[in-house]
Amino acid sequence: MSKLNPEEVLKLARLARLKLTDEEVEKYSEELGTIMDYFKLLDEADLSKLEPTSQVTGLVNQFRADEVVEDQKATPDDLLEIAPESKDRYLKVKRMI
């Protein structure tokens, strides 16, 4: 059974914006290792001449006019109201740099 190395686990956590405790790093090293081992099953498949599928009913681009729809279900003000913090009709967040 392989394990993901702890540096790799920490790198993933950083990409996903999650902080992990030492115990969690250990736990995910093992669990992700086991699960990635399981994924090796996929190497058995003969995939020659096959393309990947991401949309199963065959729909392609669904276009609509680029315009403001007045009767949308939620207004910008509704959305501002549920934000943790807002100011002058903007979301207010902590400093970025």
């Binding site: 999650l18 669990e31 599928t53 199963v56 009913t57 109201e81 549920i82 967040v93 902590k94």
Partner: protein
């Protein structure tokens, strides 16, 4: 026997004045108060709004206006549907207290026909799981045995219907989340063709397989509900056109002369004897009713679970990136920068299973691994889809169990993520191919319900409901 008449009969009685919408809502609320304390299928009540809506419908009846096909029928929605009148949490602390600023399209359509949402049902947090043990608000217990799970992720919806708390419930199915709890609780669970029901306003899990559907006591109720909620929606670009005929317009010869393939890979090692014999007996009944039954093999099926657990975490890790503490609900206090606020909010707000799946998804999408995992999985998905297509050239329906076991004991599997994931082996392939499938109660094993899974080709929902209706009659 259920205390509720069929959905159609309830609506008929409300329209004729034999009962009122308010009486129906109060009956459902009383059922919840009397029966749910030991089971935890319901998370929140929409009591005030439900009564207000009931009054409006009763007023319409009094005024001689048309109150709709579901007039006064109470229902319970899985707590990942945005619904007015109660919070929408997806059973996660991340969304605790979230009051939706708009409603999901499915709820709007049900309301337009007079149905009334009385409560929100428990699920695995963000629909990640097959037992509701991952709910941040406690596990839902199985109505047939309190020491066992109700299944998941729509476990609360399934248990609520089995407990008779309301005439029907709505759920969502990403890899089996309607069919599996329906099988565990002994009710009908219907997963429509991908895209047939708008996903707008439902907390997203994996956008390429998420489908909404009903959990009911009868096939006819499921068909009626599909008739109400299906169809194109400008708010969900993946929606498809519905059948031109009503889904209640059952085919007359839906079994006789039809070819049914028994999926070979769904039997054998790992499948409980009792489950296998119940399902085989059910298939025999279809054969006795005139179907031509043969065994069929879909050789890539054993790979479906691996495909699913690459594709779904990839999609859900992207979908869950919106929960960043800045837009709505959980936001960590005391952070000094935006980046720290993202990290703290997500670390504190997400539960263990969401984090595990976000980590898997991030890994399979990260540079250097994308081709090895994600692209490969999506290509194996094509192979699976092709095998299903080929099968449906020859067969009208495919059948097998929904899940290899009856409802397992609470705590039995949740220490080992992979063994929990393996439970999904019979449902995920259908989801990856976007096919409609149903779980129908077909028997018992160890005193617990067993479900028969019938699968049809894409957009053959009406045909699938037709054969299901016949099975229900002959079973």
């Amino acid at each position: 026997m259920s205390i509720w008449p069929s959905i159609n009969d309830i609506a008929k009685d409300v329209k004729s004045g034999k009962t009122t919408a308010l009486e129906q809502v109060e009956k459902s609320l009383k059922q919840i108060a009397d029966k749910d304390a030991d089971f935890n299928s319901v998370l929140w009540l929409c009591e005030e709004r439900a009564k207000q809506r009931a009054n409006e419908i009763d007023q319409k009846v009094n005024n001689g206006e048309e109150p709709g096909r579901l007039a006064g029928v109470p229902f319970i929605a899985k707590d990942n549907y945005l619904v007015f009148g109660a919070q929408t949490t997806a059973a996660s602390n991340m969304l605790k207290g979230f009051e939706a600023p708009y409603q999901s399209t499915a709820i709007e359509k049900l309301e337009a026909e007079g149905a009334i949402c009385v409560a929100k049902a428990n699920l695995d947090a963000f629909a990640h799981g097959g037992s509701t043990e991952n709910s941040d608000f406690g596990v839902t217990k199985n109505p047939h045995d309190k020491t066992r799970v109700a299944g998941g992720s729509s476990g609360g919806s399934a248990a609520a219907v089995a407990l008779d708390l309301a005439p029907f419930a709505m759920g969502s199915d990403t890899g089996g989340s309607i069919r599996q709890p329906a099988s565990f609780c002994g009710i009908v669970g219907y997963k429509p063709t991908y895209g047939l029901v708008s996903r707008s306003g439902v907390v997203a899990m994996a956008s390429s397989t998420d489908v909404l559907g009903p959990l009911t006591r009868s096939v006819e109720d499921s068909a009626l509900l599909l008739d109400v909620v299906s169809g194109k929606d400008s708010l969900d670009g993946t929606t498809i056109d519905r059948d031109e005929k009503s889904y209640l317009d059952f085919d007359e010869d839906s079994v006789k002369g039809k070819k049914i393939g028994i999926i070979k890979e769904y039997f054998g090692e790992g499948v409980d004897e009792g489950v296998e014999s119940s399902v085989r007996e059910a298939i025999k009944k279809l054969e006795d009713a005139g179907a031509k039954v043969e065994e069929i093999s879909l050789p890539s099926l054993p790979l479906a679970l691996a495909v699913y657990y690459v594709v779904v975490p990839a999609e859900l890790s992207s979908n869950l990136s919106r929960h960043d503490g800045q837009r709505y609900q959980y936001s960590a206090l005391g952070s000094n920068s935006l980046d720290e606020s993202y990290e703290n909010s997500r670390t504190q707000g997400f539960g263990m299973e969401a984090k595990r799946r976000i980590m898997i998804g991030t890994h399979v999408l990260s540079s250097g691994y994308y081709d090895a995992y994600y692209k490969k999985a999506q290509t194996v998905r094509t192979k699976l889809i092709n095998e299903f297509k080929q099968a449906f050239e020859e067969y009208d329906f495919l059948v097998g169990p929904v899940i290899p076991t009856v409802a397992f004991k609470i705590g039995e599997l949740n220490q080992h993520p992979l063994s929990m994931y393996l439970q999904d082996i019979m449902t995920v392939a259908v989801s990856l191919a976007g096919l409609p499938a149903v779980s129908l109660p077909c028997g018992e094993s160890e005193g617990m319900p067993v479900g028969l899974q019938i699968i049809a080709g894409q957009k053959k929902d009406r045909q699938l409901l037709s054969i299901s209706k016949v099975f229900e009659e002959i079973n």
